[in-house]
Structure formats: C-alpha cells, structure tokens
C-alpha cells in the first residue's frame, strides 16, 4: 500500500447507498471522498481530470448509464481508475467494456459493498491499477466450456479466482493455506496456459480479464 491518500468520487442515485459508501470510505485514513453526486450530469461537471483517483459508478443512473459515463470520464482522464457498482450481475457488460476503456475496470456488487473490508480493499487495489471482481460473483463463476480457462487445473483456477478478487499473492496463499511460492508457481502456469506474456501487473490484469471473459455464472438450483 502507498502512503498517499486515494481520492474517491462516487456517482450513485440512491441516497441511502451513497451515504453508506461515503461513511465507510471516509472512516479510512488512506481514502478520501472528494465528490459524491447522484447522477451522470453532475459527475461530468465535477469530475475534472486529475481531481479523482478512483470513480465508483453505479450502473443504473436516472440520467444515463454508468458504463458509458465511465468510458467518457476515463477518456478525458486516462489516469482515472473506475469501479462499477451494480445490484444486478452485470459481469457480461463489464467484460465487453474492457476492450474499449483506456484502463481496465473493477466491479463490485452492491451487496458486497456493504461489507466494509471488501469495499475498502477493492477501492485500494483498484487505485493501484489492479482489477478487482466482486468476490461473491467470482465464487459463483465457473470456466466456460471450450475456453482456455477451462483447461486450467482446479488448483490453478482456485488461484485465478483469488487474483480476480483482487488478493495479493500473499493474501491468496493465506486463504488457500499454501505458501506464497506455490501461488507464484501456479500463476506462472496460468499465464502460460492462457497465453499471457508481458510484465508483472499487466499480466495479472490480463489474467483477470481472461477470467471475466471465459467464465459464466453457475446456478445451484
């Protein structure tokens, strides 16, 4: 974690939800809420380039769509990190937008954003350039048949899931009860099987994007 304070902007039309987000984030010393507005119109006015590090955008806004707003804000300010919020599962939407956005986005369901530690960790990781996917949805995602991700071993897929949740190698190792070295070696095989090359954080992001694209929601009915 950097010592620098992360500036957060919130666009959410439901007042209760907006208030909850503000409160949770404001109580963190390394986060600061600089804007909190209810619609796309206001957001376009106040989110001036360079004033925000992470934008938290609700997908359904009364005067537009959070996805389109995010693309627009990010094209004006390529350093802006975007995290989508939605009460519906919009993973599919989210995967197709990644090709268009200048920088990959994170995505949290509203349900998960009520969990303080999940929200704070996701915002911080997103500010650092990571892609974070909602842990609840990640746990319910299964490899799509015929995709490269479907060829991963169960252990490798388990590691990829935690990376998609935005966990560091160390945190993933703790969660899985294995050592960090094993996580690293799993990751290496994952990159190889998914055909990802490049350097450190780029590869991590590419792996998460592959996860989003090549999985589907499993239903336990």
């Amino acid at each position: 974690m950097t010592d620098q304070v992360v500036r957060v902007g919130i666009v959410e039309d439901e007042a209760l939800m907006r208030g909850m987000l503000e409160q949770t984030l404001a109580s963190e010393t390394n986060l600061r809420v600089v804007h909190s507005v209810p619609g796309a119109t206001e957001a376009r006015l106040v989110f001036t380039p360079g004033s925000v590090d992470v934008a938290l955008l609700d997908v359904h806004l009364p005067d537009g769509n959070g996805v389109a707003l995010g693309v627009q804000l990010q094209r004006q300010d390529p350093d802006l990190a975007v995290m989508l919020l939605s009460s519906e599962d919009v993973m599919g939407l989210f995967s197709s937008v990644q090709e268009e956005a200048p920088r990959p986005w994170s995505y949290l369901s509203k349900r998960s954003s009520f969990a303080r530690d999940v929200l704070v960790r996701a915002v911080a990781a997103t500010a650092e350039g990571q892609v974070v996917i909602d842990p609840y949805l990640v746990q319910r995602s299964e490899p799509r048949s015929g995709s490269a991700v479907a060829d991963l071993t169960p252990a490798q897929f388990g590691v990829l899931r935690l990376v998609a949740e935005g966990l560091s190698n160390q945190a993933a190792a703790e969660r899985l009860g294995i050592n960090t070295r094993s996580v690293e070696s799993h990751l290496k095989s994952i990159y190889q099987r998914l055909g990802i090359d490049g350097d450190g954080s780029n590869r991590r992001v590419a792996a998460v994007l592959a996860f989003i694209e090549q999985t589907g929601r499993s239903w336990r009915t």
């Binding site: 796309a40 376009r44 537009g64 769509n65 996805v67 389109a68 707003l69 693309v71 627009q72 094209r75 004006q76 009460s87 519906e88 599962d89 919009v90 993973m91 599919g92 939407l93 995967s95 197709s96 937008v97 268009e100 349900r111 995602s141 299964e142 490899p143 799509r144 048949s145 015929g146 995709s147 999985t215 589907g216 929601r217 499993s218 239903w219 009915t221």
Partner: protein, 415 residues
C-alpha cells in the same frame, strides 16, 4: 439431423394488392398501337393530298379502293411491325439510354421494306427525293408513335411503383403500431402472471421461513448459532430470488445493457448461460466502426427486436436442440440507394440436433418473424455448419446518430 435447406419464415402471406393492377407494358402497347392506326389513317389522307386518289380514280373506282387499302395496309403493317419488334425486345427491361435507341433501330430496319412497298404502289410518286422524304417521314413516325407508347409505359410504371411503395410504408406503419400494442399487452400479462405466480409464492415461503426462525428463538432452549445459520440460508435464498425472479421481470420489460447496444445486451445474456455451453459472438466491421465512434446506430425499439430474436434463437438452441455450443454473428450495413436506411444482419448457429424433419409449429419464432417483417425484414431457419440449426435474420432500420447515453464520447482514432 434434418437435411432441410434454409427457408424463410413467413408470418403472413404477401398482400395481393401489392401487385400492380395491370402491367404498365400493356398500357404502352395499347397507346403505341393506337398511334400506329392513326398514322396509317393519316397516311391515307396524305396519299389523297398528293393526288394519288385523283390518279387512281382515272383508272376506275376499284383501283382507287384497292390502292387506298394498300396504302393503309402497308403503313399499318409497318407500324405494327415496329410495335411488335420493340415490345418483343422487352424495352421496359432496359434503361432509357438503351430503350429509345432500340426503338429507333427497329423503326429504321422496318422502314426499309415500308419504303419499298410504298414505291411499289402504282399511284405513289416516283422521284428519288420523294421516296427519300417518304422513307424518312415513315421512320420518324414509327419511332415517335412507339416511343410515345414506351415513354408512357415508363411513366405509368414509375407512378405504380411509387404508389405501391407508399402503400407498403403506410401498411408497415399501421402494422408496427398494432404490433407494438399487442407486444405491450403480452409483456404486461407476462409480468403480471409472474408477479402473482412465481415471485409472490417464493416471497411467501421466505416470510414463513423467517417466522419459523423467529419462533425457534422465542422458545426456551433457543440455539442462536443454529438460528444464525438458518438466517444466512434465508438471506441466500432471498438473493437467489432477487437474481432470478426480479431479473426475469426486468429483462422482459427492458433487457440489461440494451441501452448500450445490441451486442452489449447479447454479451450479458450469453454470460448468464450455463458455463457448460461454449459461446461466442462476433461483430462485423460495420458494427465495430460505430462502436469506435461511441455510437449506437439502432433506435431502442429496433434494438429490442434484435436482442429478443437472438435470445429466442439461443433459448431454442438449448431447449430444443440440446446444443453445447452457440455462436452468434452480427453486423450492420447501409442499404444501397437509400440514405439513412441500414440493415442489421445477424445469425445464431448451434451444434444441436437441428430442426425436426416434420413441419414444426412455430410459437416464439412466429412472433419474432412477424415483428421483423413488420419492419421490412425477414427470418430464415436452416442447417448450420456447426451441425445444428442456423437462424439468421435481417432487420432494416433508420440509422440514428445517437451516442451512448451520457452524451458525446470523444472519437477514438481508427487503428
């Protein structure tokens, strides 16, 4: 697997009154023939004017009558030859640049035997100037008589086509309104059934379950740990209801992502398919261009038609074809000669069992085929290269220049 060739689904038979009342060519032939008869009568008058009648009467009435008949017959035969020759070559098939020179050629060819025949008639003048003038006049008369007929046929044909097009547009508009109303009623009924059926019932079970947990905490010897576990299970159940039931309803009214374009909405839908199904979607260069510009070329109403048709095809592939792979392509292209009118062409391929050999009764597809036809499009079913069924459709639309719903996006340079 059914070895059927692709066939177009027709929701309704073609309208009989879309056909022209009668052929414009016939109008042309009638007019040209009338002109030709007039011409032959006038040539008779002209022959009398030359003094031919005068000369013939010197040889007796019988000669006068037969000579007069011969003049008329030669000119009538000539005229009819030009009419017949021209229309046998189907002049309406050609453009004006070919059509009129064609008539001139026919008239030129036919006017030679006419000039020879006219000269053979005893009472016509003999001089070279006379014969030359006579031949030229005949040629022009034939050309003009038939040319006028062909010209009128072309004008009538154009007016007919225009009228038919207007009729079609008006009928399409009327059907679109009708279709919109019945679609609205269908969705209303569906939403209402769902609210009162599924959703209501599932919420009632949650209420009862929560009551049960509360009761277990009331009594003596309550087990808070067990109750907490039960509460968590109920929370999970509620989450499931929200995801499935509420989503079904909101999807019927307005599919998620459709405000961002057809492909986005379809992407979202595909992701929700069971992960055991391999899926792919491929957009063509036309759609990709609009995407780069941040534009959504289809109006919302048209996008809904496309998304719901694709969804029906995917549902059918899984439900009837038991497919394990679904592959979608979509693109848009302009309709040549009609500015602002475009067409979306999409297809859904599956590797399932294929359509049954017997004639199938259509339900969902019939409705979608009708909606497409109302907009001047069509829907086709046939075998797929993947081994199952291929559904493809064309949806014409008026292009909008609407940008994504937050206003203009800066243009991304083409790579």
């Amino acid at each position: 697997m059914a070895a059927v060739s692709p066939r177009r689904l027709r929701a309704r038979p073609e309208h009989v009154d879309d056909q022209p009342l009668h052929d414009p060519t016939r109008t042309g032939i009638v007019l040209a023939s009338t002109n030709v008869v007039l011409f032959s009568l006038m040539s008779l008058a002209q022959w009398a004017g030359w003094g031919g009648l005068n000369r013939a009467s010197h040889s007796g009435d019988a000669v006068a009558v037969s000579e007069a008949l011969a003049v008329m017959a030669v000119n009538l035969a000539y005229g009819l030859l030009v009419v017949g020759g021209t229309f046998a070559l189907r002049p309406m098939r050609w453009g004006a640049k070919v059509r009129y020179p064609l008539i001139a050629l026919v008239a030129l060819v036919a006017s030679v035997p006419r000039a020879v025949a006219m000269r053979a008639i005893y009472t016509t003048p003999e001089g070279a100037v006379y014969i030359g003038a006579e031949w030229l006049a005949g040629f022009f008369a034939g050309f003009l008589a038939v040319g006028a007929g062909v010209f009128v046929a072309a004008v009538v044909g154009r007016a007919r086509r225009e009228e038919r097009r207007r009729l079609q547009v008006a009928r399409r508009a009327a059907r679109a309104v009708e279709e919109l109303q019945s679609e609205e009623m269908r969705v209303r009924r569906m939403v209402s059934d769902h609210l009162h059926g599924n959703l209501q019932y599932r919420l009632v079970t949650v209420t009862a379950g929560l009551d049960g947990v509360a009761a277990s905490l009331d009594g003596a010897g309550a087990d808070p740990a067990a109750a907490a576990a039960q509460l968590r299970a109920w929370a999970e159940r509620l989450e499931e209801i929200r995801e499935q039931e509420v989503r079904t309803l909101s999807h019927a009214v307005f599919p998620a992502g459709v405000e961002l374009g057809v492909v986005r909405a379809v992407d979202l839908m595909l992701r929700r398919l069971p992960p055991q199904i391999a899926t792919s979607i491929q957009t063509g260069p036309g759609l990709r261009r609009f995407e780069r510009l941040g534009q959504v070329p289809l109006m919302l109403a048209d996008r809904l038609v496309a998304v719901y048709t694709i969804e029906e095809a995917v549902t059918n592939a899984l439900k009837h074809g038991h497919a394990s792979r679904v592959s979608i392509t979509a693109d848009v292209r302009p309709v040549p000669g009609e500015p602002e009118r475009w067409v979306m062409e999409a297809s859904v391929d599956d590797d399932g069992t294929g359509m049954p050999d017997t004639d199938v009764e259509l339900h969902g597809l019939a409705r979608h085929a009708e909606r497409l036809e109302t907009r001047g499009g069509h829907l086709t079913l046939g075998p797929s290269a993947l081994g199952g069924t291929r559904l493809s459709f064309a949806l014409p639309f008026e292009r909008t220049t609407a940008t994504l719903p937050t206003g203009e996006l800066p243009v991304v340079p083409e790579h």
